[in-house]
Symmetry: D2
Subunit: 112 residues, 4 copies
């Protein structure tokens, strides 16, 4: 399945429930934020080592995949509502990043 | 380009800069959070109507696509590090949501 | 009770549970993020009018106060761990904002 | 200065700029989210050790205090708009947490 097909399935899911009026850009940004918050909650108290190992635990993996799915689905839904091609946008951003961050140039810990 | 190919390009980009040690699960969740925060900033003061219209303004659209690309890229990078198949996870989540939210059953405004 | 006293109570609470090792700066920023995510979830599907009216509903008010308390408590805890005087920092920020945003000068919807 | 006085100053600041119409509950939750995102960005690439040491660097401390001030100010503004007594809410939450998390009972890494 492609990302576009996933988006079409998510749109059909929302349409079948008449959720269109709720799926405004601001609401979807807030919903995306809520899911990213839940993803933070899965990792917040883990040591770096525990966080690396989390995907090897079936329960932890299931929870992580569930929250990452929610993040993806709201991002995809927002892109659909705003008519944004996510893959093209991501690709264009890597193009810009190639220029902004030439390989071999270090960055300091606090630098963004 | 598929999501998988975008992920491979993003991984190559990080590898060429030796950013692997920075790209721990916790760090990537925080970076994802930072980008979602920037996406919020683009919409926070807009009225619902202005938010709907934002993609028709070329400047606003460029900024929105840029932030959504950043969100996607960190999500894709996190999935790569955690060995999560995002499309499969999203698809499985819609399967579960079909059961959780049967069509035709309303939900109240505060219900989640 | 003052904010400083609330902070001291929160510190004593954490100390009594030996949570100090978990309360690193990065972990607390993530925990703060999780609570802000939950606050978003309370408001995400509300219309602007419903959001204004939410505090008049006792159930909704209780949930909102609960999440805002969580945000405050992690912010206060982070300030304690980083030795930041929150009130002084907030006051200094309003001083700077007085200069950055002179009264009577409008700002556009997308301006930050 | 007390938190209440800081809130009154923040309200006067907003009133002098006629920002009331922008300061709806949903908009303020999004603005709070944006600032928490910026706080994440300050810490995201730091090792745990670098994060602990950040407040000893004057530049890093200034940036951290600035972002924490922004988080506090939007939280205080939201509380003002929703007529929430933050200190009372925080205190009531610690009361509940005393019951939820009795001292001496451990919690596992993934437990919330």
């Amino acid at each position: 399945m492609t990302l576009e097909e996933l988006s079409a399935r998510q749109r059909a899911f929302a349409d079948a429930r008449a959720w269109g009026p709720f799926h405004t850009p601001k609401n979807l940004v807030m919903a995306l934020t809520g899911e990213v918050g839940e993803l933070n909650e899965l990792f917040q108290w883990l040591t770096p080592e525990e966080a690396e190992a989390a995907p090897t635990d079936p329960d932890a993996r299931a929870r992580i995949e569930d929250e990452m799915a929610d993040v993806l689905l709201y991002l995809v839904r927002l892109a659909d509502v705003l008519d944004v091609d996510l893959i093209a946008a991501g690709n264009a951003k890597i193009d810009r990043n190639e220029t902004r961050f030439p390989p071999g140039v270090g960055r300091t810990a606090l630098e963004r």
